[in-house]
Symmetry: C2
Subunit: 201 residues, 2 copies
């Protein structure tokens, strides 16, 4: 007999939600389905997440945190000295490994950015796109150019991740006879370095 109090229902609901996301897609991710998957009444999630927005936001926060950790780990394991590209590789690899989760992390109309966990996790993740060498100096102007550089890199990586996940680039890939998909993606990622420092500062 299941005890009345679950004990760690919050975590159980999060992993149930992610399981549904993988198995049946984002349209099947509902509060009730999550509760069913966790073997709990259909209103139980409300106490931990309030809303469907709350559940999705918490899941997104977990996603950003894991993205951050994964990209860091991949970069530190990489042989290359170029940490920026290493982080980018990790970023794209994460998105490809968890497509449903990644897309959920950009479902703006179902995310509550006032939730501190989510905001800080996302900020951490994207701090990897500003290399330490470009960090703003103390008395200097706060690195306007590096901020714009970070925006450009983020845009490129995010767009690439989205189009890859949705298979929108595979049509173009099939047009290149005998091309190695992973190699092409690596080439696209490498172009990230060309985005910084515009012609007219």
């Amino acid at each position: 007999m299941a005890p009345y109090h679950h004990g760690s229902l919050r975590e159980a609901l999060l992993s149930a939600a992610e399981k549904i996301l993988q198995r049946e897609g984002i349209n099947a991710l509902t509060l009730r389905a999550t509760a069913r998957e966790a073997g709990v009444s259909h209103t139980a999630p409300a106490h931990h997440f309030k809303d469907l927005t709350g559940l999705v936001s918490a899941l997104a926060a977990s996603g950003f945190a894991r993205l951050h950790d994964f990209a860091r780990a991949e970069a530190s394991a990489a042989e290359t000295k170029d940490q920026l590209v290493a982080h980018a590789r990790g970023y794209i690899a994460f998105a490809r490994a968890h497509p449903g989760l990644y897309k959920l992390m950009f479902r703006s109309e179902r995310l509550d950015w006032d939730q501190p966990d989510l905001a800080s996790a996302a900020e951490d993740a994207y701090s990897l796109l500003t290399p330490a060498s470009e960090a703003p100096l103390a008395h200097d102007r706060p690195g306007q150019r590096s901020i714009a550089d970070t925006m450009a890199r983020w845009s490129y990586l995010h767009g690439l991740a989205m189009l890859l996940i949705d298979g929108r680039l595979s049509a173009g890939m099939s047009m290149i006879p005998g091309a190695d998909e992973d190699l092409l993606i690596a080439d696209l990622i490498a172009r990230l370095e060309r985005l910084h420092r515009p012609s007219h500062p």
Copy 2:
């Protein structure tokens, strides 16, 4: 008294759907709401679009077609000789002017890419990112590099559009004191040109 046959219900439903999208956001865009807005029974849309997916796909097709026309018109009106950047400006301007519609156009789990209208409209729109000078020659290999270039540009523009629409870049913008937002965006768009031709072919 309204006649039993509407006459041009398909178009009426599409514009009703877009009105809802602008007014109440994508979560409020339902089959029933669209039918209500058009003053018709809630199952009437099914005959023209079959599904919610069908309605969304038709709306997305219209969006891609208009994006294509808009970008072309903007580019032909532009003074610059650089058509690529001119198209890119039009692309971003369209996305910012119709944020709900643009996001809907990338709602992959609600789009039916087997619908020919949608597929061809999207293809037309993205053909603008492959300048005529880079078009594949007849007897040559079909421009592997230009295909990858197009992918890179598309990724960058799509990511930029998404992050702009969702306001994810405004935090960074506010960190640059006294920066003109439009000027910064123009600078980001101009970087598109730096993406082509990777270091090692």
